[in-house]
Symmetry: C2
Subunit: 593 residues, 2 copies
């Protein structure tokens, strides 16, 4: 069975046009002219490309895998032709500055396209993904000469970029980085060290690769404040832009992974490789983190896309597969067996995915809009608000959407029964591919530590209170709206639980950090589920009075979310607020029996 | 990194000796002499074999996979030597009747060994697993001549057996079986049809294979009451027991699966293959279901074993891996980073697995004891009670333990961060291998349909009420035990939720079957979580006053279960009882937007 993918353009346009308001994008410099028709056209074209070109080579990419033979890394052969079409159509430069040849579209559009790319071929997408992060990082931090030399080629996709952070002994804790940089005194540096898990660290789809590498200068202070960022091209770039000799960067191996097998994940050895400092010395981590926050939303969109394609294919299977008689009323009494979609349990599994996918897409769109505002607005208070919103929501979006990718792929696989376990239907690959998203760009546990440890304290902490109060205000304002009670009442209850639990967490952050840390993942999920309920309620308000099948379905799905998904928050609040002693009382030494 | 496995013999012995009471086994015919020392010796020997022989070839088996070349199916080459040792040690006949060369040990022992086999090498285990089911089925149903001819070889493991149920168009709904059987009138039949997903349908580890095949006789009634069971040997067996010509059974292909790649899953074509009727004509399904119920507990033990080995290896990794500073009090202030086990979130993930593994093992042991009583007791009322207990608990055990296998493998993989995604640490294989357990032997949704549709109604329904009331009685009797309040109070609350929800389910079974069906999976989980809480409470009572590290840890783990795992039941009850309308109101046609 061939997998299908119906790009969710209708839902994306709905969110922007009927809920968020395109005027919020149009009011930003550079986006005045973006109308619904253009937006729809771009998303539909992207969707067509993903369905027609990328989905069709997704399984072959998994089977062939990236290869590493005689020191040469190659992407799956079927990726070459698709990559040529991909860069020709300009999909590597959606949100890049027109100054460098980009299309100058909002991040919101980029993220929607990221969702479709992630859904149809994550391994392929990864060949340009960190490249995208890298050129934004260079655009923000690098000297003019470097920007002009590297960025246009990267935007065009004829070169790609990498992010070289992780070393064997440190992934999460980058303060432990050991790679060294030596200042040549001529504006160049030599970099020496070994990096692992480098996505697209080497491959044959591009002419050159620009590595962005975290390393320590000789006299750097220990820990996170002694790390600098360097740009190290695989092939040296001459003054005239032509390619020179190969730099001293070599691939030691590529990883054998559970999934995204078409993506080359490299271990790179830098041996006095020549590069340039990007930004200020010893300030490499903060520059990198700005980019990584953007990238976290991209990863979230991958999870979302995979949840959606899993749902779409499980739905079709459930509509086709005849097995057992459904409970009454049966669709056709004369048949020996009914399509399994008529089994309430199967319908429930599908609706669990769909109601979370649509809610999660709203959450991501909400966050993305604030990324655009943060980057473009000329109004200081709007920018500050947008920055805080993005800071608060990034870990929530990353963790919830990627968890959703995995849980949905597993659930969709379950709908296929034993058939979901064999390669044929594509479900097992989706499980394997989606599994990386909760691990990379900071595990979802690291997201939770970020949310609780950083975002609930200080300035963002105060903002978090205002953010939650704003939703409370919405419910106070609509309390008399009887028609909305089915949505507002559960969302408002969940919000109250979130506000109470936030108070509890903040108290523990002062009095008992370990208790707060131990509850962080549950709190993060409580946050996501509750805020998505608020967004669903706001969406319901925005479509009140509208008729038609689309709106009727949205209402039913919102109700399903409130009734069948949201109650988890009751358990989460209880676990967080009453469960911490039993965790603390279990000592590390108690593990040894 | 090489995976380790510490067989949980201590916990197994604890459950039998200090909680269930070995006297309940000893009072059964045939088991009078089984003492703790022998039991411990057997389990330790099995554990040694699993750790030393099976775990070491598990990854290679995954990498080599079963092969199908020129019509010949082969197990991974590394399995051959291990299989020879396996059958020589008699591990294929643990619970088989000594009359056929078996060891005549209780099912309880068999299931404990199943857990260890599943933990260390599920693909290997599958070469003897259905063989085990097949000889029990033959022992119960087949004519004496067939029993004598086939069973001793199968018990010895020099032949193996299969279960040929599934066809391409029917897995769950066996009433749709199309394979035909023609009566030759000489005591033999010819079988024609195609079967899929046949575990060990062909392979090179044994001299012969006995297929147990569901098929329809020519004049059979339609549906489930027209299906008969046949024994079809791959090679014909002569009167003197020697092997004759090959039967007309051919392998069409083997499946390319997500995991258990070392296991050969075959599509078999029967083309007028010669076989024998087993049991009565048209009564094949009920015979098969008796065996399948036993097999469901075996599959549950696989899930349990995989959860445990995932936990054990994640624990070691977390103790070794240095990353970031832990919240105070840090184990060593002078280090730049602490072992991640000191991160409360990591500790929490590990304890979530462990508290469920130990609780689930208790549940499985409880069910297994009742299997032994059901099979051996001479007391009618004891047997009836045991039969009902096994009938009620089988779907709960199968679904909860296999869901636990998958969720634990995923969670353990998460502890490894990005390193969990590469082959090296074995976690990704565990995720892939464990994933089959929620799908085969009846998906966990089918288990839920069985629990709600069959086990809550009629005689088992009445039994279910008595079963729940018995736990209620335990809590009523111990209500004044202050020392136990921490365990009894949450367990008793959960039981009350289960009793209330059972009432709700039973009402819906009469008035609104679709609502009951749609809530079945959540109900099944509510049932498992609540009953495990009851078992934990009973275990706490059984060790009251006992001192020592083992008991102290058990208490802390029980408390963790109550505080951090059990609250899910609050959400489940709410979803089941208030969520059904939003599911019913969403029509199948609403999926089309």
């Amino acid at each position: 069975m061939t997998m299908i993918y119906e790009p969710p353009v209708k839902d994306m346009i709905f969110l922007v046009d009927e809920w968020l308001g395109l005027e919020n994008i149009n009011s930003l410099p550079g986006y005045h002219d973006l109308d619904v028709e253009s937006l729809q056209f771009i998303l539909e074209e992207a969707g067509k490309f993903c369905s027609a070109e990328l989905l069709t080579i997704n399984r072959e990419g998994d089977e062939l895998g990236a290869t590493f033979i005689d020191g040469v890394v190659k992407a799956p052969s079927s990726f070459r032709a698709a990559y040529a079409k991909y860069i020709e159509a300009g999909w590597t430069g959606i949100d890049a500055d027109p100054e460098y040849g980009g299309q100058g579209l909002p991040k919101l559009v980029q993220y929607f396209v990221d969702e479709m790319l992630g859904a149809t071929n994550l391994a392929f997408k990864l060949y340009s993904e960190l490249s995208h992060g890298a050129y934004h990082l260079l655009a923000n931090c690098a000297a003019a000469e470097i920007r002009q030399k590297f960025i246009p080629k990267m935007v065009a996709g004829v070169w790609s970029g990498t992010m070289c952070l992780t070393e064997a002994h440190c992934g999460t804790d980058l303060g432990l980085v050991r790679t060294r940089a030596e200042d040549h005194g001529d504006g160049t540096y030599s970099i020496t060290g070994s990096k692992i898990f480098i996505t697209s660290g080497d491959h044959d789809l591009v002419e050159n690769i620009v590595h962005l590498v975290l390393a320590r200068l000789e006299d750097a202070p220990a820990g996170t404040h002694g790390i600098s960022l360097f740009a190290v091209p695989r092939n040296w770039v001459n003054e005239d832009g032509s390619l020179g000799d190969r730099n001293n960067v070599n691939t030691g191996s590529i990883e054998h992974k559970m999934g995204i097998k078409g993506s080359a994940t490299c271990a790179l050895n830098f041996d006095q490789a020549k590069g340039f400092l990007v930004g200020e010395a010893n300030r490499g981590l903060s520059a990198m983190f700005t980019m990584m926050n953007m990238e976290r939303i991209t990863v979230a969109m991958q999870g979302l896309g995979m949840a959606d394609i899993a749902y779409q294919n499980a739905l079709i299977y459930a509509q086709d597969r005849l097995q057992s008689k459904a409970p009454p009323p049966r669709p056709d009494e004369s048949r020996a067996a009914d399509p399994i979609i008529y089994q309430p349990e199967i319908k429930r599994q599908l609706l669990r995915i769909r109601s979370q996918v649509e809610g999660a897409r709203a959450l991501a769109a909400y966050a993305s809009l604030h990324v655009d505002i943060m980057e473009k607005t000329t109004d200081d208070s709007l920018r500050k608000n947008a920055e805080d919103t993005v800071a608060l929501l990034t870990p929530v979006v990353k963790s919830f959407l990627t968890d959703l990718g995995v849980s949905s792929a597993l659930s969709a696989q379950q709908v296929f029964g034993g058939h979901g376990y064999i390669r044929e239907h594509g479900m097992e690959q989706l499980v394997r591919d989606s599994r990386i998203t909760t691990l990379y760009e900071g595990t979802n546990e690291i997201q939770a530590a970020d949310l609780v440890g950083r975002k609930l304290t200080g300035r963002t902490g105060e903002f978090a209170d205002r953010f939650l109060a704003k939703w409370q205000q919405l419910f106070d304002d609509t309390r008399d709206n009887d028609y909305m009670a089915d949505y507002i009442s559960p969302a408002s209850d969940a919000l109250a639980r979130l506000i109470d639990t936030t108070r509890w967490m903040r108290e523990r952050l002062r009095s008992d950090t370990a208790a707060a840390s131990g509850a962080a993942v549950d709190y993060q999920r409580l946050f996501a589920l509750s805020i998505i309920a608020c967004l669903w309620a706001q969406i319901m308000i925005s479509i009140q009075g509208k008729n038609g099948l689309f709106y009727a379905s949205k209402r039913k799905i919102a109700l399903f979310y409130m009734d069948q998904v949201l109650p988890e928050t009751v358990a989460l609040q209880q676990i967080i607020t009453t469960g911490s002693d039993s965790l603390t009382d279990f000592e590390v030494t108690d593990f040894e029996l």
